[in-house]
């Protein structure tokens, strides 16, 4: 027992501490801005989301340290089982999930509302890394991309069914990045990408009414300014009016006055609260902190002892980056509104837990790095 403890301590000593510091600041900032997003003015009660977010953050950090202590190589054999487990959970979600805001995304596990799609991302990352790093895998084979696509298919379709187009779409860059870094020849990647083009119109037909509206509104924001275009216009106003230095913590008005709908201010649109209150300076700090976290993941991929570890780190890096980019771009009107949360900041327990867990695995890869 004491040898296990000593081993754990030794592992933790080899963690990437600078990226963990960035991560810590982001988590604390997240709790603070969930509070601010729920703030409605002096003397009025603040919705207790920030407290729940704090509990989830503590749980997430515990998971991070546990995951960092666990040797990621023991997950290699477990990967197909974990992948299978999330598929089962996703099916359960569709069958017996809880419906909120027109989508069936949650199931009750051990008395808690859990969002299996958040863990499905992790499951796919592990499965992709496992599949591409099998000894004797012929990466030159033109069928490898198709095989990965088949792995991607079930969670993608199941999440899309909820419907949660944003989360489903995030799975694609993860798989592509893993294929890319694994060393699959570019010509095959291009060939399969071209093969996917005819599928896009079919995708349009598969979209729900509100999803199509979001895309149309992105093309023409004036199309429905009080309906589908509202969030886009209001979040842009919030971000833009923040200016260079921002209006100060709790001094943003867009969410206090309800122009930024209260249902999305602490979740998908939390960045507009951050940007309104901290301005361009705060935005840059936010991007830099994410940069620090991503840098840690990148270092883990570079120094990984084996291909599985490297692809695991690449998957997590891509997941984090995709979320960050899409969320910010959506908030400032550069992309259609897809409903992707901002990692570590947006209110949401499952995503907080799964993100920190994934980063814990990356730390596990880094702490068992090669000496080179």
């Amino acid at each position: 027992m004491s040898s296990l403890a000593a081993q754990t301590l030794a592992t933790w000593r080899r963690l990437h501490w600078s990226s963990l510091l960035c991560l810590l600041l982001l988590t604390i900032g997240g709790v603070a801005f969930v509070y601010s997003a729920c703030y409605r003015g002096d003397g009025l009660p603040v919705a207790p989301f920030y407290r729940k977010q704090m509990y989830w953050a503590v749980a997430g950090w515990s998971a991070l340290f546990v995951a960092a202590a666990v040797d990621y190589r023991r997950l290699e054999e477990l990967a197909p089982w974990l992948y299978g487990a999330v598929i089962v959970l996703l099916i359960m979600t569709l069958v017996m999930g809880v419906t909120m805001n027109r989508a069936q995304r949650w199931i009750s596990l051990f008395g808690m509302q859990v969002q299996p799609s958040e863990f499905a991302k992790l499951g796919l990352i592990l499965m992709g890394a496992f599949f591409l790093s099998r000894p004797g895998r012929d990466l030159e084979s033109p069928w490898v991309p198709l095989q990965v696509l088949l792995l991607l298919g079930p969670p993608f379709v199941l999440i899309m069914k909820q419907p949660d187009l944003g989360t489903a779409m995030v799975l694609v860059p993860i798989a592509v990045a893993q294929l890319w870094v694994a060393g699959v020849p570019v010509r095959y990647l291009l060939r399969w990408a071209l093969a996917a083009v005819p599928v896009l119109p079919m995708g349009w037909l598969m979209l729900g009414e509100y999803q199509r509206n979001r895309l149309l509104v992105f093309i023409d924001p004036g199309r429905d300014p009080l309906g589908a275009g509202w969030n886009k216009i209001q979040s842009e106003i919030a971000v833009g009016s923040g200016g260079l230095w921002g209006k100060g913590f709790l001094n943003g008005t867009q969410n206090v006055l309800g122009f930024l709908p209260r249902s999305v201010a602490p979740t998908d649109f939390i960045y507009s609260v951050v940007a309104e209150e901290t301005g361009f300076v705060g935005s840059v700090v936010l991007v830099l902190l994410y940069g620090g976290v991503l840098w840690g993941c990148y270092r883990a991929a570079v120094r990984a002892r084996d291909a599985f570890g490297r692809l695991l780190a690449v998957g997590v890096t891509t997941l984090l980056f995709t979320h960050l980019f899409i969320n910010l771009a959506m908030t400032i009107g550069l992309m259609p509104i897809t409903g992707l949360p901002l990692p570590l900041i947006s209110y949401g327990g499952s995503f907080m837990l799964s993100t920190l867990l994934a980063l814990g695995l990356v730390q596990s890869v880094y702490s068992r790095r090669t000496r080179a």
Partner: protein, 605 residues
């Protein structure tokens, strides 16, 4: 050329490319953030203000008007209103019009006031004026206020609002002159438009209208932030409105009351001026109206009634009524003869009761004839024939010139925009307007104040004052002082001398002597105006109007008192009179009695 990559190197190169791509995207993102937050920040700030800031115009407290003794003639009183604060009602989880309607009903029961708000009112308010309190009842009386304190003050989202309401403490006194206020249409001022206006009063008539800009003061504003539903969220700033200026009038409420009492039951006008400076001590018109009935708006029924009334109670006859002056014009003719045509006072004309002009006969009112009269006697007896002959001798031009100098045919310049100019005919005027030559018959009519000539009572009072004070024609002054808000003292308004006439004292003595005889001599036409102890001077007049067969006459009297060192110059005219001497002279006496009962010394204050 570098050597081709080994298979094991590929993942690392691609990894570096991946992170480089991410870094580049990150930099692009930061550039976009710069553009939206810094480069275009002001534009979004403007959008933010546009959707969440509302300016509300708040009227200033309207200035008051006082009579010369400081008695308030136009004042403001607090009016209590029950208002619903919709943003508070919303916090209590109630926002629909149905629930507001229920609350109004509940309040109506508790306050025992009939419900005034309809569902439509509530919906309109929610749609157009959401950040403002919704007023349910205005003008609560004491009983309702007591019930409020007892039973309703604890209801959430409901409050008492104090508004200033215009009132005229003396009721109908000087109503025509003061005028009244009505609810103003919302005004927009250019670059910073107001979103909402609190009820604001504007002067609609009389001094209220003439001095509206001064009385209104400077409106203030409130800047409120509204939330997405349009409810008031908080107040960002207040610019206090500036109260309006107060006016100190020359009117003396007691003299005004005397003038109005003199006219009681009559249709007519009475003007009392201070001949020493042109101050308007009273400006009365009958019938009158109570301006309080016009605040905040006149009822449709009353308005119809006022418009339909044949006696036209809304017209301020003292300044806007145009009457033929009749014999009160004779002093003007006499002055014209003496001053402008070289007539001598001692010249006598014989009155056989009429003069014959071709086929027309111009009668004297005294058909038996006055016999031979000099000028002073002609005034006392108001002999028409004397004036026919005098006028025929000197021609119309000197009379026109003298009348012009004395201010007839032109507005006096009193501070009332509806003042009428009257009409001073002349040969030129007749040629230009009627294309006809001035005939001797016109001269005869003109000489006794008939024909086309019309005057206002105010003009006649000013003219009388000029005779009383030896030839100084003042612009009648209604406002003697203006006090800026917060200021201690009234700023004196100038006394304006319109014209100073250099009359020969001997000539003036003839006119004044004749006018004194009118009142003081046993057979003077105005002897019924005399009061014991204080000699007065005056001139009566009677002028026909309407169709001849109807026999309608205006009765006139102009007068000043005391005859030496006059302190009051008065003009009174009434409709449907028998004659000036029999109908108006007694009214003049009552006014004189009142004046000297007020001030035994005759001092105007």
């Amino acid at each position: 050329m570098s050597p081709p990559l080994t298979r094991s190197q590929i993942p690392f190169l691609r990894l570096h490319l991946l992170i480089a791509g991410m870094a580049a995207t990150g930099i692009l993102l930061v550039a976009m953030l710069w553009r939206i937050q810094v480069a275009r920040g002001p534009r979004y700030e403007h959008d933010l203000a546009l959707q969440s800031l509302r300016r509300i115009r708040v009227p200033g407290m309207r200035g008051r008007m006082f009579d010369r003794h400081g008695m308030a003639l136009a004042d403001n009183r607090p009016s209590y209103a029950v208002a619903l604060y919709l943003e508070e009602l919303r916090l209590a989880g109630r926002r629909s019009s149905t629930e507001i309607e229920a609350l109004v009903k509940e309040l109506s029961e508790r306050l025992q006031l009939p419900p005034t708000l309809t569902r439509q009112d509530i919906l309109t308010h929610q749609r157009l004026r959401l950040p403002l309190p919704l007023v349910a009842w205005r003008n609560l009386d004491d009983a309702a206020l007591a019930r409020w304190a007892e039973r309703a003050a604890d209801l959430p989202g409901v409050g008492l609002l104090i508004e200033a309401e215009r009132m005229y403490p003396q009721g109908a006194l000087a109503g025509h002159t003061l005028g009244y206020v009505g609810r103003a249409d919302p005004v927009q001022d250019g670059d910073q438009p107001y979103h909402y206006h609190l009820p604001e009063m504007e002067g609609r008539r009389g001094l209220e209208r003439q001095f509206d800009a001064l009385l209104r003061g400077q409106p203030g504003g409130r800047l409120v932030r509204v939330d997405v539903a349009g409810f008031r969220h908080d107040d960002l700033g207040v610019r206090a409105p500036e109260a309006g200026a107060d006016l100190l009038l020359t009117l003396d409420h007691r003299i005004q009351a005397l003038a109005e009492e003199a006219l009681a039951g009559q249709v007519g006008a009475a003007v009392v001026l201070d001949p020493r400076n042109g101050d308007v001590l009273a400006l009365a018109s009958a019938p009158g109206f109570d301006p309080n009935l016009f605040v905040p708006r006149v009822s449709a029924a009353l308005w119809r009634e006022l418009l339909a009334d044949e006696d036209k109670p809304l017209i301020h006859r003292a300044a806007a009524g145009q009457y033929p002056p009749g014999s009160t014009f004779k002093p003007v003719v006499a002055l014209a003869g003496l001053e402008l045509a070289g007539q001598r006072p001692a010249t006598r004309y014989d009155c056989p009761g009429y003069i014959q002009m071709g086929r027309r006969r111009f009668a004297c009112w005294y058909h038996a004839g006055h016999g031979s009269l000099d000028m002073r006697q002609s005034l006392q007896h108001s002999c028409n024939v004397y004036y026919y002959r005098l006028a025929l001798e000197i021609g119309p031009e000197p009379i026109v010139r003298m009348a012009e100098r004395l201010g007839l045919g032109a507005r006096t310049g009193i501070e009332l925009d509806y003042e009428a100019p009257g009409l001073l005919p002349s040969p030129t005027w007749k040629r230009e307007t009627q294309g006809d030559a001035w005939r001797e018959g016109d001269t005869c009519n003109f000489s006794i104040g008939q024909g086309a000539l019309t005057v206002t009572p105010l003009q006649m009072a000013a003219l009388t004052a000029a005779i009383a004070n030896g030839g100084r024609l003042y612009r009648p002054r209604l406002v003697q002082g203006i006090r800026a808000p917060e200021a201690e003292r009234f700023v004196e308004q100038p006394i304006e001398l319109s014209r100073r006439m250099a009359w020969t004292p001997a000539h003036l003595d003839i006119i004044r002597g004749g006018m004194r005889d009118v009142v003081m001599a046993p057979r003077g036409t105005g002897r019924l105006a005399a009061i014991p102890g204080i000699p007065a001077a005056g001139k009566t007049g009677t002028a026909q109007y309407g169709r001849l067969e109807a026999g309608l006459k205006y009765g006139w009297m102009i007068a000043y008192i005391p005859a030496e060192h006059p302190r009051y110059a008065v003009a009174i005219v009434v409709d449907r009179a028998l004659s000036g001497g029999s109908t108006v002279a007694p009214l003049m006496r009552r006014l004189f009695e009142g004046l000297f009962a007020l001030h035994p010394t005759g001092e105007a204050g």
